[in-house]
């Protein structure tokens, strides 16, 4: 077990800079998820920690030792690959024990460890099979077993669930979490799926364009995103963004969405935004769950307005509604009993206590 530290890590391929100076501290026992769109540099970062890619600049430390030039086999890490990378000619047990056999562990010890891992992953009856006789989920378990038996300092997961179908993915996600709760090994996990990131991570690292956008717990990222990218990336359906302006009306600060739609800001928000320039182009960010059907009781900071619904999506426990404000499609989340009908007007409420105000030019959340 060990902590992992990245200091100003850069990866350059000829002309392209894939990773542009990353600083990251991962504590012992922590489960950190790197998340971001394709090509954001998250896999490259993971592969640099594994030693499968050289680093162009900066330092990587595992357990306090700089490992920049240490080959993968001496870094004491284990990696689970997207396509499992099981050795097709070996049985499950041989796959899992390969690393230990190379290190010449005693046979009895190998057997104990493989049995233990197989029991933990519920693959005891599969140990004599070859990978091609296994389903995708079973292969993924074996790949995890291969990592567990090594008892390494760090687990690295490279999009391990991407090849599984949706149902299995949820199941394996829980499985991975259980395993981590048992073995407590420091884990770095790469995914492009923000749901995976949110559900698995102690801390999430959102990456974009070779840089870290924000690091935080899933709740921090969800409720206090630092940038427009994080705000839009985390959460499903995504956060709504509407152009807006701040205005002083009758001595109170208001937010104006269109000529006709203008809301007073709750006092806490008004206080927070009082230094914001009135001429800056701004955006209002609001999650779908903060746009609901109007309630008969007025609540502070919750303002009502009318909209004509474009599309409704009944999901069972809730109904997603879509409508247009000033050319932007807005998504809201209403009670399934709220009588939302496509093409019909509806009285809606927006909860400005949970609003985010963004600078349109810089993308920063104010």
């Amino acid at each position: 077990m060990a902590d992992v530290t990245l200091r100003k890590v850069v990866k350059r391929y000829d002309e392209v800079e894939a990773v542009r100076g990353i600083d990251l501290d991962i504590a012992d026992h922590e489960f950190v998820v790197l998340v971001g769109p394709s090509g954001c540099g998250k896999s490259t970062t993971l592969r640099m920690i594994a030693g499968l890619e050289d680093i162009t600049d900066g330092d990587i430390m595992i357990g306090g030792d700089v490992v920049n030039d240490v080959p993968p086999k001496d870094r004491d890490i284990a990696m689970v690959f997207q396509n499992y990378a099981l050795y097709p000619h070996m049985t499950v047990a041989e796959n899992m024990s390969f690393g230990l056999r190379l290190k010449r562990y005693p046979k009895a010890e190998i057997k104990t460890r493989v049995d233990e891992a197989a029991r933990m992953l519920d693959i005891v009856e599969l140990v004599d099979r070859k990978p091609k006789q296994l389903s995708g989920g079973q292969r993924q378990r074996v790949a995890m077993g291969r990592a567990i038996v090594r008892n390494p300092k760090v687990f690295l997961f490279d999009e391990p669930l991407s090849n599984l179908d949706a149902k299995l993915r949820v199941q394996m996600r829980i499985e991975i979490k259980k395993v981590h709760q048992k073995v407590r090994t420091t884990t770095v996990y790469v995914t492009h799926d923000q749901v995976e990131a949110m559900t698995l991570a102690d801390r999430v690292v959102v990456m974009n364009n070779g840089r870290i956008e924000q690091i935080g717990t899933p709740n921090e990222l969800y409720h206090n995103p630092a940038t427009r990218f994080v705000a839009g990336f985390i959460g499903s359906p995504a956060m709504n963004f509407m152009s807006c302006r701040l205005e002083e009306i009758g001595g109170k600060m208001h937010i104006r969405l269109t000529d006709r739609i203008v809301f007073p800001l709750p006092p806490a928000r008004a206080e927070r935004y009082k230094t914001v320039s009135r001429t800056d182009k701004l955006q209002l960010g609001l999650r779908p769950e903060h746009i609901t059907e109007a309630s008969p009781h007025a609540e502070p900071g919750v303002e009502n307005f009318d909209a004509v619904l474009d599309v409704i999506e009944p999901m069972g426990m809730e109904t997603m509604i879509y409508f247009i404000i000033d050319g932007a499609e807005i998504c809201g989340r209403v009670n399934p009993n709220a009588d939302a009908r496509a093409g019909a007007p509806m009285r809606l409420a927006i909860d400005l206590n949970n609003m985010h105000l963004l600078n349109e030019a810089t993308g920063a959340v104010i």
């Binding site: 080959p71 993968p72 284990a78 990378a85 000619h89 390969f98």
Partner: protein
């Protein structure tokens, strides 16, 4: 499933129509169509391979003038001749040594080519295939000049560094060395290209997983590359063993079996006896000896190749 349902629906069609329909379904069946499409090839093979094979079996049972049936007489006669056993021994040495070196060189070169960046790889691949692409009869002539005892390039170079001339094709040991060398030169590119293709089909992530598991380069080859290439290695080795065993042109042109029959292999000796010596039935008997030897090799090498199948 669907066919059954359709047949049931129109349960009693007229006889003629049913006959036509059954012909159509027979044609529609994949196996029938496949058989018809391969039929020309099957006919060609029967004509050019199966017929001559049986004809040579028949020939091997005749006497020298091809007038009288002698049963296994030719074989009995061969067993008593020292030269025959010499040829058996030489064929085995020739084929096994050449195939081992071809495979080794092909394997090593394939790794080198595999590690050349993709841009320059085509060029190298093309150049390395040249020995295999030139008709061996032509390239062997060039080798013959290189091996010439008096004026050859090799001996000239050796003289330059003060080494005595080597009788490349004139002395038993050197003559055997020379024919094997040329055979390796011609055959190694085939192994190279087969191994290269097979190397390319090994997923990179297996090597990465092995690297993380702690395997050094040699263990990566031993535990990942070789098992993944096992089938290709078996098939190319067998194929090359057959071709090398039955080799004719290189030995014929380079040494013609000499000196003193010391480089004869089955095909060249069969030619010497059958065509040049005028005893066609005896020549046929000699060439038939290749079949049991190769059959045993095939069984050994292809054993459980199906079982291993495509494990990936």
């Amino acid at each position: 499933m669907a066919d059954v349902a359709i047949e049931r629906k129109d349960s009693a069609p007229p006889r003629a129509a049913r006959k036509r329909a059954s012909l159509r379904t027979a044609l529609k069946r994949k196996s029938t169509a496949a058989f018809l499409m391969t039929l020309p090839l099957i006919l060609l093979i029967s004509l050019l391979v199966i017929y001559p094979a049986f004809y040579s079996l028949h020939l091997a049972t005749l006497n020298k003038s091809m007038q009288r049936f002698v049963g296994l007489g030719n074989f009995q006669f061969l067993f008593t001749r020292e030269t025959f056993w010499l040829v058996v021994q030489q064929s085995c040495i020739f084929a096994i040594t050449a195939v081992i070196f071809k495979a080794l060189i092909g394997f090593v070169v394939a790794h080198f080519v595999h590690n050349i960046p993709a841009k320059g790889q085509r060029k190298w691949r093309g150049m390395l295939l040249v020995p295999w692409v030139i008709p061996p009869a032509m390239s062997t002539l060039a080798w013959l000049w290189l091996f010439d005892p008096s004026y050859s390039a090799f001996n000239y170079l050796l003289a330059g560094i003060g080494v005595d001339r080597i009788p490349w094709t004139g002395e038993t040991g050197w003559a055997r060395f020379s024919v094997i060398l040329v055979n390796i030169w011609v055959g190694a590119p085939f192994f190279m290209i087969m191994y290269l293709a097979s190397l390319k089909s090994v997923p990179d992530q297996l090597y990465e997983a092995a690297a993380i598991d702690g395997a050094n380069w040699w263990q990566r080859i031993w535990y990942v590359t070789l098992p993944m290439m096992r089938n290709i290695i078996a098939i190319t080795t067998l194929f090359s063993l057959i071709v090398t065993f039955a080799n004719f042109d290189i030995v014929r042109i380079l040494t013609a079996g000499g000196p003193l029959d010391r480089t004869h292999i089955f095909a060249t000796w069969a030619f010497r006896i059958g065509i040049e010596g005028g005893d066609i039935p005896l020549g046929a008997s000699v060439s038939l000896f290749m079949i049991p030897i190769l059959a045993i090799a095939a069984v050994f090498i292809l054993r459980d190749i199906n079982k291993r199948g495509n494990e990936a």
